[in-house]
Symmetry: C2
Subunit: 341 residues, 2 copies
DNA sequence: CTGTTAGCGCCTTCAG
DNA sequence: CTGAAGGCGCTAACAG
């Protein structure tokens, strides 16, 4: 009969089992120092009494917790959801719970979150990206808590890092396009302030086209991703007219919007215009025309990050910084080979 | 100079400020009983020392926490992300942090999560849907913690409920289609075991078409949502051939996949086939042809649920159960009026 | 307005 | 293998 008053505590179980508190504690935590007979007995009684250990008490006593704090820009979209899925799966099976917050891309919100989070003595902290409030790094290093920065690659992580190198990704795409004979590249992204990943990809794209061509850039601020891609494409077509033969978009949704804009204008894809997306989202698997895009290893990134963090928590050596490769996923929106081959 | 050893505790601050530990406690919590002068002084010193209250200790002392436990089926898709956004925004500004878990639609996973969650003395627990492991309800009621069941409407909530009535939603759609002159409805969903919401919507659809027509149902188990919709449509076209004039899909993604299948087969939308999605997702604004769909008030649902829960936490009366209405959002994939009008 | 006294439930020592 | 004592950092409840 479970009592409806206060929940059972370790003392109640000890009493019911006729042993000391410590025996119960050891039995439940599965550590040695209890005979198997007694352990089984205690466990059975505990279960019967509906005993649940009080995590706050445990946390206070051992001065840390099984909570992993995670900071995400947003829950929207597959990108962070996939990363999160990879991380959570790994942490979950290791017995950690996730305390999650979204910052909506505001570093002050992230800072506030980190402060609050730290009050829970988390086993680890995970931040998205590498752009943080200056105090965040300091607080985190000071707290001596394992930290993982995911999504963007950096050589100077707060602690651990697993991400993709957006510059390399841009260059990778650029090299691919150069090899296919494209000579007049464009890039369409979101407004500058919003996301520095775009800058890195543009720089990479420029590096690949260095000495060959310059890169036209549009960063319209419109409604949703489709509209932005659509509008950006129109903008580029208007200002650079026939000067553009391929456009690299910030993401697949925008690329799709851009493709629609071409269609509306009678610009043929891929004959007159190449379209390249980014991320390799599910959406792509059913579009009437398969987009050429860049697959990002989101789930793997989450898993790798969580594993390294787990190693770090257990005091095992883990690579400080790992850059995961992206992969070009050729579709029907770029040509398959150079024009004159 | 922040120490790099142990973090400052309330006692350190008290000492540095030359007051008692209780004065610091009161000053920091912003409760009365301290002169404004002292409060300001203490606060400034605390900030200087980088003092962060230990939540575990507080939680242990007051026997509850500012943690809200949330159980979601999955992070994938906008649906739960939107609900979550609404809830989190509300809880966030009330000073609560979210501990989130995803169950992947497994009630055993949910049960295990609830157990672990309860060990943190959460201020509230939020579950998705109304289908739980029997012990979950018991444990939750026993723990006397405020509980919110969100997304599905129910008349018999564990504690509080805010959701939509899927039967009514199905009937609503059915009525709409009947009025538009459709006479051979189909429904495409996911495998039965996965989601009982589909059953409710089908029942509603059937109720609307009662005495008019029967409803053909396909529940293919394929890859992603797009593929499932695509495959389901092909299945229905093959088996019921020209017998179908409109299909209600489980969600917008599937509807889009279905639309693509029609296009590939030369079945014209909406002339030969009506397509209706569900949820009113952003995707829709990205599509070349706007889907007719059913808008679900996801964010509002989250906000309403969180508000009611907050009221409940503060001991204020809150409606046990609220059903939010859905709204048909006419697009270009169903005809605008009956054929002979 | 300010301080003192007891715990909150569990775990780390250290004895038996 | 088992148990007794003390404390983790904080906050109610009571004094002054």
């Amino acid at each position: 009969m479970p009592r409806t008053r206060k929940p059972a505590k370790i003392e109640d179980v000890a009493e019911a089992a006729g042993v000391s508190i410590m025996t119960v504690s050891r039995a439940i935590r599965g550590i040695e120092g209890v005979s198997e007979k007694k352990r089984a007995e205690v466990l059975s009684i505990a279960r019967k009494m509906n005993y649940t250990p009080n995590s706050a008490a445990r946390s206070l006593a051992v001065n840390n917790s099984n909570l992993v704090g995670i900071s995400l820009p947003t829950f929207a979209g597959e990108v962070f959801a996939d990363i999160l899925k990879g991380m959570r799966g790994t942490f979950e099976s290791a017995g950690y719970a996730s305390v999650i917050d979204t910052t909506e891309y505001d570093i002050h919100a992230e800072k506030a979150w980190v402060e609050r989070l730290l009050s829970w003595q988390p086993a680890a902290v995970i931040l998205t990206g590498t752009h943080h409030h200056p105090q965040v790094r300091e607080r985190l290093e000071n707290a001596r808590v394992p930290v993982l920065q995911v999504w963007d690659h950096t050589d100077d992580p707060i602690d651990l890092n697993v991400g993709i190198d957006h510059f390399e990704a841009g260059r990778h795409v650029g090299d691919y396009l150069v090899a296919l004979g494209y000579r007049r590249p464009g890039f369409i992204g979101a407004p500058k302030s919003h996301d520095m990943r775009a800058d890195a990809r543009i720089a990479g794209l420029r590096a690949a086209f260095d000495g060959i061509a310059s890169v036209a850039v549009a960063r319209p601020a419109l409604g949703n991703a489709f509209a932005t891609g659509h509008g950006g494409m129109e903008q580029l077509l208007a200002q650079d007219g026939p000067g553009i033969d391929v456009v690299f978009f910030l993401n697949d949704h925008m690329a799709f919007g851009g493709m629609m804009a071409c269609e509306a204008r009678g610009v043929r894809v891929p004959e007159d215009m190449g379209i390249v997306g980014f991320n390799g989202l599910d959406l792509n698997s059913v579009l009437p025309v398969e987009l050429t895009t860049v697959a990002t290893p989101r789930k793997l990134m989450g898993i790798t990050g969580a594993r390294n963090l787990l190693a770090r928590i257990h005091g095992v050596e883990a690579p400080r910084s790992v850059a995961l490769p992206v992969k070009i996923q050729p579709g029907k929106t770029t040509r398959a080979q150079p024009p004159n081959s």
